[in-house]
């Protein structure tokens, strides 16, 4: 909205589609479900801190799933935690998105063979929109994942999908 601020000489009407308006609103304020599971959480915190400042994309960490739009699963998902993640995801209101951050939550990471307690990919319990590779991914990688998610949201549509 800052782009349009003070640009008109008198009050005016801006015409856009409902899709564009809603998508723009959604992608510009992706409030983030705040929980870290392992070392990826350190990078996620760094991405939120002043050097990388994820808040400039409208990402605000929230401590309750009811206020969140995107869940960043940052770290090793143990089987014990998996049921909690599922419950937190179910408590988020729609539209909701999931970023899987790091090798562990993508596919089990280094625990893929001997990790009796590790879920081999968080996509076994909840649907994932964007996978961010890395062990752990740098904050830039997480921000790129976030931008990819924004692109995905930008192309969403309210129109009912037709069977092909």
């Amino acid at each position: 909205m800052g782009l349009l601020d003070q640009k008109f000489e008198s009050s005016n009407v801006v015409i856009t589609t409902m899709d564009d308006l809603l998508n723009w609103a959604r992608l510009s304020s992706l409030w983030q479900m705040q929980f870290g599971l392992a070392c990826c959480a350190i990078e996620m915190m760094a991405a939120s801190a002043s050097n990388f400042d994820m808040m400039r994309f409208g990402v605000i960490p929230r401590a309750t799933p009811r206020q969140c739009d995107v869940m960043i699963v940052s770290g090793t998902v143990t089987l014990k935690m998996a049921s909690r993640i599922k419950r937190l995801y179910d408590q988020m209101s729609e539209p909701r998105y999931v970023i899987s951050m790091g090798s562990c939550s993508n596919c089990g990471g280094p625990y893929w063979e001997h990790g009796y307690h590790v879920l081999k990919g968080v996509d076994r319990v909840i649907p994932v929109d964007v996978y961010v590779p890395g062990c752990p991914p740098r904050p830039e990688a997480l921000i790129e994942g976030l931008i990819k998610l924004q692109e995905k949201i930008r192309n969403e549509s309210l129109v009912q999908k037709k069977a092909v």
Binding site: L79, K80, A82, S83, Y116, H117
Partner: protein, 158 residues
């Protein structure tokens, strides 16, 4: 106090309950003791004026394949010396007296060893799983542990 001196005090006090010892050429000199006497020995080494092992640094479970073991790493804040006690029990009857009454820190350590090795610490006030979910089956750090196919509907293998 040297490991040899500590061992001699133990041997003089408990005799045959001290089974064997390795005191030289190891990073941590240790003595193997009878499992059913460990509580007496623990109370003695904590209370004795010369030893005063007031700090249980670590309590670990071990699977020796066929036998299970518990290792106690002890340290004395007063005398600045350390020593290691080991016990072994058969896998089908892994009963070890709890030393929770001697060192409070053993509470959670013994719960962990119970959780991952299935060691039964008799006399422990609250012996239940500490890391794994309560409905977990088996004890994963045992050598013969088989990773389950499913846990609560979630596929476990890769």
């Amino acid at each position: 106090m040297t490991a040899q001196e500590i061992h001699d005090i133990l041997k003089a006090q408990f005799g045959d309950a001290v089974l064997e010892a390795k005191l030289e050429n190891v990073p941590d000199p240790f003595a193997k003791v009878q499992a059913d006497r460990i509580l007496d020995i623990a109370a003695f080494v904590r209370g004795d004026e010369r030893l005063q092992f007031d700090y249980l640094m670590c309590l670990s479970g071990v699977d020796y394949k066929g036998k299970l073991g518990v290792t106690y790493h002890l340290y004395s804040m007063v005398h600045r010396h350390k020593f290691v006690l080991k016990v072994e029990v058969p896998t089908d009857a892994p009963n070890v007296p709890s030393v929770e009454s001697v060192w409070k820190t053993a509470d959670w350590h013994e719960r962990e060893a119970f959780d991952l090795y299935g060691l039964n610490f008799t006399g422990h006030p609250d012996l239940r799983r500490i890391l794994l979910p309560y409905d977990w089956e088996g004890h994963p750090l045992r050598k013969d542990y088989q990773t389950p196919e499913y846990y609560n509907g979630m596929k476990v293998p890769y």
